[in-house]
């Protein structure tokens, strides 16, 4: 633990788990989406649902989705600012003992009401948060590393392919998680990297015909740090 977790973080109140962590989940979610959207449906679970509104959990998540950091003073006005951008917001609350006490599921929709992304996150205390599910696939990352998310057709040799591209560009893989959906035959790889994967490299990966989507996300400390 860093001493700046004790004297910090700098955040919008009133609660590190219900406000700061919630904002961080929203921020991570919009980084994963990485494209414009017109509607979000947000499902709050358990403690997020019970005491979330009094802690501004709703405002914090929307603020995060708009790309605000957890210390951004626009968070209290996030609903108004989302409306100005023409973004429609829906909320629902659920109890589910199988889920984390502070969990949220966010669905992003396009203008044509097409579902773009379903993503779930957990606020795990002290302003820390993790993304735990993307489009039904379990994942686990919280912004400590640079992230590369690759969706591809589940054919042999794909890991070798993108592993080699990254290696050629001196990008080291710290952790790698792979899962696949047998029905759709789509696989999802979540790579935690030691360096950010720049656009020219993601472009090379995208050129492979089996690659369906590539998302590169910078580590949060780079975007969240104050100095």
């Amino acid at each position: 633990m860093s001493l700046f977790d004790i004297i910090g973080p700098v955040m919008i109140g009133p609660s590190s788990s219900h406000t700061a962590g919630a904002a961080k989940i929203g921020f991570l979610a919009q980084s994963v989406l990485g494209k414009p959207f017109k509607k979000v449906h947000i499902t709050l679970f358990n403690s997020f649902a019970e005491t979330g509104l009094g802690h501004g959990t709703d405002k914090a998540i929307i603020g995060g989705i708009l790309g605000f950091r957890m210390d951004d003073e626009r968070i209290p006005r996030s609903f108004e600012l989302a409306r100005e951008q023409g973004i429609q917001i829906e909320f629902s609350c659920e109890k589910d003992s199988k889920k984390h006490p502070n969990e949220v599921c966010i669905e992003f929709y396009s203008e044509a009401e097409a579902l773009l992304l379903t993503i779930s996150g957990q606020s795990i205390g002290g302003g820390a948060a993790k993304i735990v599910e993307i489009n039904g696939t379990p994942v686990w990352f919280g912004g400590m590393h640079d992230i590369l998310i690759i969706q591809y057709k589940d054919v042999p040799g794909m890991v070798g392919f993108f592993g080699e591209v990254l290696g050629d560009h001196h990008i080291n893989i710290a952790y790698l998680d792979i899962s696949r959906d047998a029905v759709t035959e789509k696989a999802l790889a979540v790579l935690k990297l030691d360096q950010y994967c720049p656009e020219n490299v993601t472009d090379i990966i995208r050129k492979n015909i089996h690659i369906l989507d590539v998302i590169s996300i910078r580590r949060l400390s780079d975007q969240y740090s104050n100095t």
Binding site: S2, L3, I7, M11, G13, P14, E50, E73, G126, T227
Partner: protein, 300 residues
């Protein structure tokens, strides 16, 4: 004196380890030790860390100013301009003890209320106890004209003491009750105050131990689950307690129970605490008839 090289990682379990390591590496200054600890373990240059902490100090100062700009009112109505009332009291010279004491209370309320109103604060150690360090440390060091650089360094002492509590007990109300939030805030504030008054290790340890001892057993029972009642005013007791304990240590009074043992006691008390008194709003003040009325209004 032979210089023992400082390793790439500094491992400490408690304040006793800090004392031993400071001796071993011949470091006199507690802030210097924690700065080195952070620098080694996070692999960041001390100058960068100092500038980051300076920024956190700046946010604390701004949070006092913003918390005093207008009466702070939350949407629940439970917080309704307490800091502003204190401002009026001060302006009309009606302070019971003296303006400095009233100012500590006012500034603590200002930051804690700002937090409740979704303002920008430094969680130190938590958002719910964010008023304590600014309210006590910043008010007193400004009055004593302590140089800013020293106050920044004292925040490393506060952070280090908080780390010792975090390693051996908890800083979370949901886990160990309010003693872990406002109790810890009070203990780390007393330590920072004594560091600013150029006190030695023993004095800092005693003041910090007093502050934590005085708030042992404090439960977390927020009305309607909000960080408002009684949290905001408990920031004031933690802040005033930090100053009283620093003053006792300054006078030469020393703690019978070492800091590490007080932390251990806090841990055991937290583990004995029923869950109804750990942020669940199922006990304590949260279930008083008046509190339940607020909860029901919130739901409807």
């Amino acid at each position: 004196m032979t210089n023992i090289p400082i390793p790439n990682r500094i491992r400490i379990q408690n304040l006793h380890d800090v004392r031993m390591q400071m001796k071993k590496f011949d470091i006199q200054d507690l802030a210097e030790f924690f700065l080195l600890y952070e620098s080694k373990n996070q692999e960041i240059e001390p100058a960068v860390l100092l500038s980051k902490m300076d920024y956190h100090l700046q946010v604390m100062q701004e949070s006092i100013i913003k918390g005093l700009q207008k009466p702070n009112v939350t949407s629940s109505g439970l917080i309704n301009g307490g800091a502003d009332h204190m401002k009026q009291l001060l302006q009309h010279n009606q302070s019971l003890v003296g303006p400095l004491f009233s100012k500590v209370i006012m500034n603590t309320l200002a930051v804690s209320e700002l937090n409740a109103c979704m303002g920008r604060i430094v969680a130190s150690p938590t958002a719910g106890s964010a008023g304590v360090l600014p309210g006590a440390l910043l008010t007193i060091t400004q009055h004593k004209q302590i140089p800013r650089e020293k106050v920044v360094r004292s925040l490393f002492v506060a952070g280090g003491m908080g780390e010792m509590i975090s390693l051996n007990a908890s800083l979370s109300g949901a886990s160990h009750g309010c003693q872990a939030e406002n109790g810890s805030a009070s203990a780390i504030t007393a330590a920072a105050l004594l560091y600013c008054m150029d006190q030695d290790f023993d004095c800092i340890e005693s003041g910090s131990a007093f502050a934590l001892k005085n708030l042992l057993g404090l439960v977390c029972d927020p009305v309607a689950g909000l960080v408002e009642v009684p949290c905001v005013k408990r920031n004031v007791i933690a802040s005033v307690n930090a100053i009283a304990c620093a003053e006792m240590a300054l006078s030469g009074i020393r703690t019978v129970i070492p800091f590490d043992e007080v932390v251990k006691a806090m841990d055991l008390i937290g583990k004995d605490m029923p869950s109804s008194l750990r942020e669940t709003s199922l006990g304590g003040l949260a279930v008083c008839p008046a509190a339940k009325m607020v909860s029901n209004q919130k739901r409807s």
